[in-house]
């Protein structure tokens, strides 16, 4: 039961005589240190990704962050498959930050882009296969037999006469051998673990309170800091009065930092109360008159102009001008918060010669570089210990490492180890949102009801502009941000005259990738508009899509599967209606059918049927969990969520004003997975994009009215 609870945290609980429970723990440095502390110095560490102890434990060192998407299970499965490990002895450990743990494609240590499994597919298998070859060599030496005559199964090597040595028994001998350069990998038809359900390795510690998230980190002598940040983006502290705050109990220091004023205290509550007692005179800067209503009005005006061309097939403008039947629609989506359940936090132990950081981050390499610069230390003097992430959704991959850099600034002033904890309000109002977008789409059908033209103008802020990723995405060369138009520029529908244009807007609200990034809005616009064209053509929306997807078998595969499992053609009880959507993202294909009813101006989603094709998958249980979780994430945005600014101030602050689906609102969800031998695609994000258009299209089916703005408000339906 506790096989997964062997991370680098050591818990020591003692009952104090009169002081209640005392709990302290420390996080050891590297895996090597752990091995020595465990008294298993003889462990076999053939490469950066696996360590095998004389106690038979196989510890897989995972270079991606666990934020719920299951990488602490799926990546160990890849390694254990080739190692022929006994799955019951497999544990995980988070990797320290080191170039050897860089993402093989993105060239830095990070978790994002729904890329962990496909990027690790060969890497983890190779690491397991190399370890297996060395264990076989060690056994063959001992038996004096030909290694090629040996086989492995469930954590042991066998010779032709079925003599057996376990991996634990072989660890010490194998450790003396030289790792092979390249080892052949298994034929996928012989996989025993990959593609089969396996329980997650991190569940036990997540159901008894022992899983350590960033906010749970403690160090001897550590203090907690809460920061008063600018109420308006770009505002600066002119002066502050801390006379009352300073006299409050438990307060250690109050200091100005670049992001605001930090209160450093013995405990969170003391720091928060003193933070709230500060009087700060802010220079509000240029954003103090910013309103999202005005911004959207500007976007609407901009959409009337021709934008930077992203894709151009045929001549959409000419076809639209002479079309038999045409339609124009404008879709709008708001700023959104990631709203991870665990608000941001970061613990720092800054010494003259070192900086140790504990946090739940998706961006180790970037954070280390930014922290080192802030601390005035070389990169290698900074270590990042990645804890569990209480949700990520992109927010914890910040190009400026905002929450890490700030914590280093606070640590510089604190003089003691310090953990900066954000309140929910701090987190929601702290920026780096999914940007608001507007899609103005014009389309036409010919006299046979066939779509012949589509022109889409996409208006919104770039998330890449001004970041170190600007060059990587070739923003300047292209003249647009590919992540603003992804999912719209590769529209799969066979429409001969297609134009996609981009208007990149400058707004000084910090924006960032939010689960499914551009697809979170492009799928809403494209999948609602194709539904509108189907209605214009008096055709069934599923059939209409099918006809235009004949050259896209994987789109068709999920579309057909979702429609079939949802019983698309079957009648529904009175008051219920269905909507459908299909969308490819992160090299995976998703289709969803939503079943809704509309009563008293309220939309209720009763059922969602999801079909997913993510190529060759590792763990079907995790595929289903991510797909259903993604659908709920998308449905929350569709039904409830928006961030709005008035006079530069965000009007939302917590879950009462930025709601998400709750148990009583959560539809029945089923997920159907396409069996595929294609290269693995992503799974953390592809479940999100279809939810909003499937629900909006179902609302049309129920009411005859179109939803063109999120979150859904029936009063705005047209």
């Amino acid at each position: 039961m506790s096989r997964a609870i062997h991370r680098r945290e050591f818990l020591k609980v003692s009952i104090g005589a009169g002081g209640g429970l005392l709990l302290g723990f420390r996080l050891a440095g590297t895996g090597e240190t752990l091995a020595m502390q465990n008294g298993s110095a003889a462990s076999f560490t053939p490469n950066a990704f696996v360590r095998i102890g004389t106690d038979e434990r196989v510890t897989v060192i995972v270079n991606h962050s666990e934020m719920g998407q299951g990488v602490y299970t799926s990546l160990p499965m890849l390694l254990a498959e080739e190692l022929d490990a006994d799955w019951n002895n497999v544990a995980f450990e988070s990797a320290p930050v080191d170039p050897k743990y860089n993402h093989p494609v993105f060239g830095m240590q990070m978790t994002g882009g729904s890329s962990s499994v496909w990027s690790g597919f060969e890497q983890f298998r190779q690491a397991g296969a190399a370890a297996r070859a060395m264990l076989i060599a060690a056994a063959a030496q001992q038996w004096n037999v030909d290694p090629s005559k040996c086989r492995t199964d469930s954590g042991a090597v066998f010779d032709p006469s079925n003599r057996k040595l376990t991996y634990g028994q072989l660890a010490a001998a194998a450790a003396k051998l030289t790792p092979p350069a390249q080892v052949p990998l298994k034929d996928p038809t012989t996989f025993k673990l990959i593609g089969k359900p396996a329980k997650r390795l991190d569940t036990s510690e997540k159901v008894n309170g022992t899983a350590v998230f960033g906010v749970d980190v403690k160090m001897p002598g550590m203090m907690t800091a809460v920061v008063a940040r600018a109420p308006i983006f770009g505002a600066k502290v002119r002066a502050f009065d801390d006379s009352r705050a300073r006299s409050m109990s438990g307060v250690h220091r109050i200091v100005a930092v670049p992001s605001g004023v930090a209160v450093i205290a013995d405990s969170f509550w003391q720091a928060k109360m003193a933070r709230d007692a500060l009087h700060i005179d802010w220079d509000e800067g240029t954003m103090s008159s910013f309103n999202t209503n005005q911004m959207m009005q500007q976007f609407r005006e901009q959409a009337k102009l021709t934008g930077k061309s992203v894709r151009r097939d045929g001549d959409a403008d000419a076809t639209l001008a002479k079309a038999a039947k045409k339609l124009e629609a404008v879709y709008e989506v708001p700023y959104l918060s990631h709203a991870m359940m665990e608000p941001l936090n970061c613990a720092v132990d800054l010494r003259p010669e070192s900086c140790e950081i504990w946090t739940g981050t998706q961006f180790q390499t970037v954070d280390r570089a930014n922290a080192a610069k802030t601390a005035g230390l070389p990169d290698e003097k900074v270590q990042i210990h990645t804890t569990f992430l209480g949700g990520g959704f992109g927010r914890r991959a910040n190009p400026q490492s905002d929450f890490v850099v700030e914590a280093v600034h606070v640590a510089k002033a604190a003089g003691v180890p310090v953990k900066v904890v954000w309140t929910r309000e701090d987190d929601m109002q702290g920026g780096w949102y999914r940007p608001a977008f507007l899609h103005a789409i014009a389309g036409a059908i010919d006299t046979n009801g066939k779509a012949v033209a589509w022109r889409s103008r996409i208006v919104g802020q770039s998330i890449m502009a001004g970041t170190p990723f600007e060059g990587m995405a070739d923003l300047k060369g292209k003249g647009y941000d590919p992540s603003s138009v992804e999912g719209a520029d590769d529209l799969p529908y066979e429409i001969p005259n297609l134009a996609v244009e981009s208007h990149q807007m400058e707004v000084r609200v910090p924006v960032q990738w939010w689960r499914s990034v551009g697809h979170s809005h492009t799928a809403f616009a494209t999948e609602c508009f194709i539904d509108e064209l189907a209605a214009l053509a008096h055709q069934d929306p599923y059939r209409f899509r099918r006809d235009l997807l004949q050259k896209h078998p994987r789109h068709l595969g999920v579309l057909d599967l979702a429609a079939q499992k949802a019983g698309w053609a079957k009648p529904l009880p009175k008051g219920r209606a269905r909507g459908i959507a299909v969308h490819a993202s992160f090299e995976s294909f998703s289709a969803q059918v939503a079943e809704v009813s509309v009563n008293d101006g309220k939309v209720q989603v009763h059922r969602m049927v999801c079909a997913i094709d993510c190529g060759r998958y590792v763990n079907p249980g995790i595929i289903a969990a991510q797909t259903e979780g993604g659908a709920i994430f998308g449905a929350s945005a569709a039904l409830f969520q928006e961030l709005t600014f008035e006079n530069g101030r965000l009007r939302q602050s917590n879950f009462h004003s930025f709601p998400m689906l709750r148990m009583n609102e959560c539809p029945e969800i089923e997920t159907h997975i396409i069996e595929s031998r294609e290269k693995s695609g992503g799974i953390g994000e592809p479940g999100v994009p279809c939810a909003a258009p499937a629900i909006a299209n179902a609302v049309f089916a129920a009411t005859g009215k179109r939803i063109r703005r999120l979150p859904i408000r029936l009063s705005e339906a047209v």
Binding site: I15, G18, G19, G20, L21, L23, E66, M67, G68, Q69, R200, D202, T203, S204, E205, K206, V207, N208, G209, T210, A211, V212, F213, V215, D216, K218, S249, D266, S267, F268, A339, M340, M341, E342, F388, G390, G391, G392, F393, V421, R424, A625, Q626, E628, G629, G630, A631, I632, F633, N654, F655, H656, M660, L661, R662, M663, N664, C666, E668, I669
Partner: protein, 156 residues
């Protein structure tokens, strides 16, 4: 001084009585399984039991626990043996896991009061607990599974 019991161990603390119980549990007692999510009783991540009742500890002053028995996730069972913990493991409920302590503590009160809860009972008892990862369908299944276990074990 405020005196109460936490997971059957006596705690005697010199702390401002208006401090939310959550932060006393986390910062003074070091029991970090109970989570902070919103601070305004909107998300349920901080749910603990005071004398067997589910309480959002982020808005309950520690004075409310005086002389009472507080149970946190660490006290739900010593060895993952609570039927809900077993069901959570069987159904692979958690994703990021951050909200799950609160989900389990809310569900534990539900099951004690209604050993065979209906879907409506689950809605009523669990609607105060948000999960951003969207584990609701699995939570529902796991509660039903645990209820089955309860029945087999002769109910509690």
């Amino acid at each position: 001084m405020i005196e109460f019991s936490v997971n059957k161990t006596r705690a005697n603390l010199d702390v401002d009585p208006s401090t939310p119980l959550l932060w006393v549990i986390r910062d003074h007692l070091g029991l970090t399984g109970t989570k902070y999510g919103c601070g305004i009783a909107q998300c349920g991540a901080c749910t603990v039991h005071i004398d067997g009742q589910a309480v959002r500890s982020c808005v309950a002053p520690v004075s409310r626990a005086a002389g009472k028995e507080v149970t946190t996730i660490e006290g739900l069972s010593p060895d993952l043996s609570h039927p809900l913990q077993r069901a959570w493991i069987e159904e692979d409920v958690p994703q990021c896991g951050y909200c799950q302590s609160g989900q389990l503590m809310s569900a534990a009160v539900l099951l004690r009061e209604k050993p065979q809860p209906t879907d409506d009972d689950i809605d009523k008892a669990m609607t105060g607990n948000i999960c951003r990862c969207g584990t609701y369908p699995r939570i529902r299944k796991a509660i039903h599974r645990a209820a089955g276990n309860f029945a087999k074990r002769g109910a509690r």
